[in-house]
Symmetry: C2
Subunit: 358 residues, 2 copies
Amino acid sequence: MTPSALPQSTPRRATLADVARAAGVSTSTASVVFSGTTRVSEATRERVLAAAAELGYAGPDPRAASLRRGRSGIVAVVLEGQLRTAFLDPVTIPMMDGLTDGLASLGAGVLLLRDEPGEGEVSALSTAPVDAVVLIGCSGRARASLEIVRGRGLPVVVIEGDAGEGIPQITLDNREAAAEITRHVKQLGHERVAAVTLPLDSDRIRGRVTDDRLARATIDVTLERLAGARDVYPDLPAISAGSSSIDDGVIAGRALLSDPVTRPTAILAQSDLLAAGVIRAAEDLGLRVPEDLSVAGFDGIRVDGIGPHMLTTMVQPAAEKGRAAGEQVARMLRGEPASSLHFTCRFRAGTTTAAPAV
Amino acid sequence: MTPSALPQSTPRRATLADVARAAGVSTSTASVVFSGTTRVSEATRERVLAAAAELGYAGPDPRAASLRRGRSGIVAVVLEGQLRTAFLDPVTIPMMDGLTDGLASLGAGVLLLRDEPGEGEVSALSTAPVDAVVLIGCSGRARASLEIVRGRGLPVVVIEGDAGEGIPQITLDNREAAAEITRHVKQLGHERVAAVTLPLDSDRIRGRVTDDRLARATIDVTLERLAGARDVYPDLPAISAGSSSIDDGVIAGRALLSDPVTRPTAILAQSDLLAAGVIRAAEDLGLRVPEDLSVAGFDGIRVDGIGPHMLTTMVQPAAEKGRAAGEQVARMLRGEPASSLHFTCRFRAGTTTAAPAV
DNA sequence: TTGTAAGCGTTATCAT
DNA sequence: ATGATAACGCTTACAA
């Protein structure tokens, strides 16, 4: 534990002061050489750099710099649950990409955090040296994260979640978008229509969506998209999937299509992955899409694995959402006022919807 | 910019010294109340906490703490290329999950960094307050990252990459594993076999793998897995995919299967996604798997979208790889010696391989 | 159990 | 263009 116990390879790392001394300048001058805040004569500049190279000095210690500056250059992104589940959702990835872009103007890094403080341990959120926080899909237990963040007085932006008073949030027009694609289906002339929804709550139970289950549902996105569809077809039957995946779409699709008598002529899926599964299920049953069954999705991601089909879907600006969040964070950090932003989806006609067969 | 210009909401945040003063104790005592390093009488403890609550003090400033301690509690993970592409690879996600687990004993957070320093800007790697670094898929340009890291004297672990002397690395038995699954196919009696490989280099050009292209290839994983397969079938024809995805698998599969005369009876895919695509291509052509065509994958991920099939594949311990990296980092940070670890894949028989039809 | 004191390595301000 | 000086907010021997 004592320095002397170490191999010898740690003779105390050189500091800026060491470099300055070796170069025969003051620490402040040396500092300026690295930060570039002020003009420095070419001569001294080179002397300092040479001394640094000589001493193996790799630049200012970020910890000291961040204490002094009051900035660490790190923004925390709090994801719900396991990283695994978070990144399984294909919209998360472009969103994260957009976020890093939006943050780029700050030169900030992204610290990934989960919102579950594992086993009595204090949430890393309360001890991480971050300048700001982005909360994603802030529901239920994310409130705890929010409390910590507010306690620390950190700037925070929430994506797809309700954070209450004065906190900038990035939202999507889920209900309106769902209504729009549903109207498209209605205009094609479909009358027997059903929906496949995302999970209703964290239990992720599959099955027929009853009023009862709806009352206990906690996932806003699901509710909003269903509400939008029911704005068009008030009695729209729906079945909830266990997750947003192709396989769950297959299961739901099979359930909806198995009975040739009650079989719908169109299915509205709440995500593209679910839609892909429904298509698969339909084709397995010998139904042609869109001749025998129209299928609509939601998200507008690149779906890997539905072959020649182009999904009719609502394209959500996932990357833009992330970028917007990043930009609002950047603004707050610059002391500028930040605002909530609302994004809208865009209808994209594909080859998976058509008028019902006569 | 001056404090007075701000709304008033920033009357200087309370510091530990403020809290101590308010509680009538010394700063060190107050410090100890928060860190829990030493026993403190219940009475003072409560007085300090009360004072903290009163002043809205949310705990020690992590920046100051990390300067003092010489630790930031953050480990950087450097991914190749865009986050987008990194997270498109389904093995990355469990690996990241394992990594966070392995790091959990440290209570460290994970800072996501890309290895491409965007446009002349200094790589965040050189200015981020991190305690250690994990390099993933360190090839070519990641050498630059490695240089920075070594310059800063940070502990580093490399996953699936060669970092040279004395740097712990986490590797996989790609060649041996590829040979194993190839032997399985050979033992089933297949003689007309072909391979679908991962990209050969960052150009990601699709097509027949010639000796020429092979000589210029830069992606180790691809080369190792191909070498393993050719240990069994020395003349194994191969076609390279543009990426590890189902759609690219379809393309490659179609290319290999289109000619009924030369059509192989078994296809070895270098990833499960590619295998799924090959299966899709086969079924599109009216071939049954495994009766008319055997398909083997690699990775052992959950493939979303191949319906009833269970892929015959080599299961790689992705999460374990990540966890191991995390643990080695933890050891280095504790001053213990770290070591390189080599992982092996496990053969998993599925329903997609069988003896060729007679 | 509590207090004293000495930094941790920078950067910012203000002279010179 | 350069330098002196004072923080930044905390932790941790060590002393009491």
